[in-house]
Point group: C2
Chain length 137, copies 2
């Protein structure tokens, strides 16, 4: 089959998701890296600075600055790590969890919008396709 077409269609999908995310984040008055941190902490629970930085694809130096701001804004809290006193656990505050749920609802809404015209079985198939692709990275 014409794989150029598939490749370009995936890129188009990615570009549109990206634009949507930037618009949604700006509209809610947040910054992209901070929402990214909220998304990851919301999905994974408390993480060490190192772990969070790795998942976000930034250095710990950069993360320190972001977490400083987010702590100021009341979105996250630093906590001592019981087993390793070098490490610091970062977790969402109540307010941070509100922001996470709110943002997650937007994702959910987009997902509904994109698959509104799909039948249930098509949606199941789409899910399995995404899962299979996610395993191949």
């Amino acid at each position: 089959m014409n794989n150029d077409l598939l490749s370009h269609t995936i890129v188009e999908f990615y570009e549109k998701l990206s634009s949507w995310e930037m618009a949604v984040v700006k509209d809610a008055g947040h910054s992209l890296p901070q929402i990214h941190a909220v998304e990851i902490l919301g999905a994974n629970g408390d993480l060490r600075m190192k772990e969070l930085a790795e998942k976000m694809g930034i250095t710990t130096g950069t993360l320190t600055v972001q977490i400083d701001k987010m702590e100021q804004a009341g979105l996250v809290a630093r906590k001592a790590h019981q087993q390793d006193r070098r490490s610091i656990l970062v977790g969402l505050t109540e307010q941070g969890q509100d922001v996470y749920r709110e943002h997650d609802q937007l994702h959910h809404g987009l997902s509904d919008q994109l698959t509104a015209k799909f039948s249930d079985s098509e949606r199941e198939l789409l899910l399995s396709f995404f899962q299979r692709m996610n395993n191949e990275f």
Copy 2:
């Protein structure tokens, strides 16, 4: 069906694509906004500054700086617009087209990798799913 799962799986796919793109761009020694411009110019042909800025989701002020750098680097060239002397057309140079084709090949390779275990009919179905979703943004 469980739409939370679909939503999260799509987000996971997006995150992995995003990480992949950043790694690939950095590895090739390019910057993300410049490769983004190359991708858009490669797919659309010559564009006015205004049009390119809109497609990239940045202001024309920001774009002016980027195009200055890219022109220095030999990736793009500014040309006069015949019908409107206020406008400036930006287009890829030969070298810019090389970069575009090279980057496009990487996308193609990823697309192959992700769907390596798909049958031809599954790949056709996946393509149609992406196309239908792209229409719903």
